[in-house]
Subunit: 346 residues, 2 copies
């Protein structure tokens, strides 16, 4: 394709080559590329044709020097959680026919790595960031948002003015779960939540909201005396020992609401090992309605927050921000409970 006769290495086609081929200036080609103002149809057609014929692709690094890179960064704390898969599917779908390319960085749940990852994405001149359930919060997050367009998903900041947020109504989701369990005439309903890694983040975090919803619903239904929230860190080991402790203890709950599916599956595992049958000895409910809930060996009731929709919204909002929108938007979907065998008395 680009064997330039002499023995040299095949060079990349540049904007200059396109300009020469089309018989126009470099600036004109750049205008076509950016769909900028001041280009006639004739010129646009000529340039488009040359680009096509030469197989021209703009070099993101060079664009980044002065303008946009058309790259969006997504930070994930944990690819293990299949909910993030749905989210990514939505993001990818939304960007499919655009110039934007999403690239994912993985922070393995530690805030030090997350901070490094974000810096690293800024070094790479990303046009904007989608932060998925970030550790970063409060003022530092707002500071960051002043340096680069941001959409946060999985963290509640309804009053933030510097960035957008996308969430489902976690409080409502938890309430729906409790009401569903109460309807099945369970009363001793406990909750297995996530340990907080910093003080005062109950209001902002997903699991904090779910706890609030749980407490409120329990109180509303006159089950205040049964409120019982236990927290475990994000490791397999700790989830297992915590679950075992709850289920072996003297007052084992009738039903256990887990803050995310992943944890619910561990609970089912521990319960099975202890010889408990589900839902007769213990009802279990998760959150996120990931594809694992559907497997017959799990058959797990869960809350659907339609991750794909959330992903789509993230992408949409971020691009709007990049294009200049200044006011914050906070998107929230209504969750719904998907009932399966793990929570239905027979």
């Amino acid at each position: 394709m680009d064997l330039s006769g002499n023995g040299r290495r095949a060079q990349r086609v540049t904007i200059r080559d396109v300009a020469r081929d089309a018989g126009v200036s470099v600036a004109a080609v750049s205008k076509v590329l950016r769909e900028a103002y001041g280009v006639s149809d004739a010129l646009r057609a000529k340039v488009r044709d040359s680009m096509e014929r030469l197989g021209y692709r703009p070099l993101a690094a060079a664009r980044g020097m002065r303008g946009q890179t058309y790259t969006l960064g997504v930070t994930l704390s944990d690819i293990r959680n299949p909910f993030f898969t749905d989210l990514m599917a939505g993001i990818n779908a939304a960007l499919e026919r655009t110039q934007y390319q999403p690239l994912v960085g993985i922070s393995h749940s530690t805030s030090a790595i997350e901070a490094g990852l974000i810096e690293s994405m800024m070094d790479r001149q990303m046009d904007g960031l989608i932060l998925v359930a970030p550790h970063l919060t409060g003022a530092p997050l707002a500071d960051l948002a002043r340096r680069i367009p941001i959409v946060v998903v999985g963290q509640h900041q309804p009053n933030a003015t510097e960035f957008d947020t996308v969430n489902n109504d976690d409080e409502l989701g938890a309430e729906l779960v409790v009401r569903h369990l109460a309807e099945q005439s369970f009363a001793r309903i406990a909750m297995l939540s996530l340990a907080f890694d910093r003080a005062g983040s109950v209001e902002a975090t997903v699991n904090g909201r779910r706890e609030t919803g749980y407490r409120r619903a329990m109180a509303g239904l006159g089950l205040k005396q049964h409120i019982n929230v236990v927290r475990a860190a994000q490791t397999l080991r700790e989830i297992q020992t915590t679950a075992r402790h709850m289920l072996e203890g003297p007052n084992r709950p009738e039903a256990l609401f887990c803050w995310t599916d992943f944890v619910a599956l561990e609970v089912i595992s521990v319960a099975t090992e202890l010889g408990l049958s589900i839902p007769d000895d213990l009802a279990v409910v998760g959150y996120d309605n990931t594809f694992l809930c559907d497997l017959a060996q799990n058959d797990l009731t869960s809350v659907d927050q339609s991750g794909e929709t959330l992903g789509l919204q993230c992408a949409r909002l971020l691009i709007e921000r990049i294009k200049g929108r200044g006011e914050a938007q906070h998107f929230m979907v209504k969750p719904r409970v998907v009932v399966r065998a793990s929570s239905q008395k027979r």
Copy 2:
């Protein structure tokens, strides 16, 4: 930090600022940055100190114009498969203390998107690519490798000279499974594999190798007449209907070897729905030994190929290539069977 008195927007600290602060030339700072030859300890210390104090971070876009971006691209076909999580953990761990940053692109199992993604990563001047179980193969893959350093994991190309590969011995893994099942005195051992999306790729693909290993082991054990390979595409729906068909049919196998855990979990689900008990009515074995195998409700025998080790090797080999190694290296680990309840006669 960088409030430059006048009302202007906070500017990024550049290499020039560092040079001025340290009282040296821009070229000297660049040398320190790249750990290039010809820098005295004294100068290095001075420059490092200035960089630290000013909070300098090199801009990847600018570096990319002439040199490296210190960014490595990883293409994943499907984040749903938890095996890739382990792989990523290895890659991230290997790059932790280096300048390199891995960024992941997701191709959703379609080769068109994969091709676009790869181009897009080249546009972004990535220094090298780790292709995980790519669709791309044969001559086009070799062509690509001549344009950018590449390591391929999850595709067997032992004779490739243009790029490195990292794999486990899939043939051996399958053989070990068959031998294990035969030891448990199963004879009618079937295999559920993945449908091929192109002709002649049996030798290169992971599932193709596993099929070969399965056939060879069956033949070696005198079970030739029981060889039975069924293939299903990578969608939930098709896996389910295929599994159902196999298990409902007149000659249901005694044991079913699934090419990956994900499929094995679906099989357990379908079997459960059909009222079959595992392993009494049907033994099931998977591949990859992902964390889901450990859950008591699955308790799935699987083949461990230590994804984290593979990830480490990918990163190591790719950086070697980037630094100039020309000859290909092909890394292969030995897999081992992790026996759990799903395949043990009681």
